[in-house]
């Protein structure tokens, strides 16, 4: 059956549909959002996260405004079920000095270097790849101390697939989508910057388990150990609407 029908199928002459396709394309309305608008939206998102970071900073300092914190902890917020896996390190001061010397940054005393490496895993068991497709995960580093002192901040993107690196969570890995190179760090002003790791995700066959992973190494040096940089991540949709945000906990 196969060989006969295959031969038959190959002999069928398809119509030239390009004129019809071209007509439909021409009939389409212009895209609703131009580049300028996209830039404006992106700046809006950046501003939104800066605002979120400010509130988070207040929370960190013991304010009673925790209930208004727009950055929900893992597993809470409007999109429940996400998980976070993050590691941060505070290196010894002598190591920080050595790093500063090697990196060529400014060298006041009492510098702290953190975090060394962060992995943000966004996961939701009941999301399909289609639902997550097109969403973007932005990772953000905000240096709280930048307003008061000269700050050397550098975010080094290091996006990598860590599919096999986390507690067997990738059972039945079905497909690993190509990771796009992240954008260059975008300076938010005031010592903050973010990386746009557009479209990075994995998907598995069993149960539609979907993961979005960002692994990066922000090298942030703060002159004030009591004001560590804030590291966070936000998930936005195609229209740059914030779906979910989280602040990486500081393990000190």
């Amino acid at each position: 059956v196969s060989s006969k029908e295959s031969k038959d199928l190959r002999q069928v002459r398809p119509p030239d549909l390009w004129p019809e396709i071209d007509r439909r394309i021409t009939a389409q309305r212009p895209a609703p959002m131009r580049n300028g608008a996209r830039v404006a939206v992106r700046f809006g998102v950046a501003a939104l996260f800066v605002a979120a970071a400010v509130v988070a900073a207040i929370v960190l300092h013991g304010s009673s405004s925790a209930s208004k914190d727009p950055v929900p902890p893992a597993g809470q917020g409007p999109l429940q079920g996400f998980q976070l896996h993050a590691k941060t390190w505070v290196v010894q001061e002598k190591d920080a000095r050595a790093l500063i010397k090697r990196e060529g940054g400014p060298g006041p005393r009492h510098w702290v270097f953190l975090p060394k490496h962060v992995e943000v895993v966004v996961a939701r068991l009941d999301w399909t790849p289609q639902q997550l497709n097109g969403k973007r995960l932005l990772v953000v580093v905000i240096d709280q101390a930048s307003q008061s002192a000269s700050t050397y901040i550098q975010v080094v993107p290091r996006i990598a697939v860590i599919a096999l690196g986390w507690a067997g969570a990738y059972d039945n890995l079905d497909e690993t989508y190509a990771w796009l190179a992240p954008t260059a760090p975008v300076d938010l002003g005031g010592g903050g910057s973010y990386l746009d790791v557009t479209g990075a995700y994995l998907r598995t066959s069993a149960g539609g388990r979907v993961w979005m992973v960002a692994s990066f190494s922000p090298r942030t040096i703060s002159p004030n150990p009591s004001e560590p940089p804030i590291v966070g991540a936000i998930l936005v949709d195609q229209n740059d609407h914030v779906l979910w945000a989280i602040q990486v906990p500081q393990d000190r």
Partner: protein, 158 residues
């Protein structure tokens, strides 16, 4: 509006895979030319609106075309595998036979079978076009062939 570069890229893609996509939909839908025409044209039309978001164009187009074809068949409320397709099939293709045989296959099994065994795509290409792993393609193919073999034997006995 789609810029000229994107439009050229889309037309190039159509010239590359449009015919095979049409044949795949034709076979998958049981030989319905109108469904194949609509699915392919609409898939490319939708791709034009999303060019900036599509990373792998060919797989996206195939998946979209299959979905649109499925929607078309559903919309018309008469599955090709339940209807007499005579009069709407091609003259030079014995699609009705395949339709009868493929009645028991799952949609993915039919897609894999059409692309691999009827159109002759290599397994890695089928996997890419369907957005599934090669292992999954082989599993679907194995299931489809086994099912078809059983059906053929039963048909011969009857």
């Amino acid at each position: 509006m789609l810029n000229e570069v994107a439009r050229a890229r889309l037309e190039y893609a159509y010239r590359e895979v449009g015919d095979d996509m049409w044949r795949a939909i034709l076979a998958w839908s049981g030989g319905r030319r109108d469904v194949a025409d609509e699915a392919v044209a609409e898939a490319f039309s939708q791709a034009a609106r999303r060019m900036g978001d599509i990373r792998e164009l060919h797989p996206w187009l195939f998946k979209a075309a299959f979905r649109i074809a499925a929607g078309e068949l559903q919309r018309r409320s008469k599955s090709v595998f339940l209807d007499d397709v005579e009069g709407e099939t091609t003259d030079d293709l014995t699609m009705a036979d395949f339709s009868d045989l493929a009645r028991s296959l799952s949609p993915t099994q039919r897609r894999a079978f059409v692309l691999r065994d009827l159109l002759g795509y290599p397994t890695p290409d089928v996997a890419e076009l369907l957005g599934i792993s090669q292992v999954a393609v082989r599993v679907h193919l194995h299931g489809a062939r086994k099912r078809l073999r059983v059906d053929l034997e039963q048909e011969a006995l009857s």
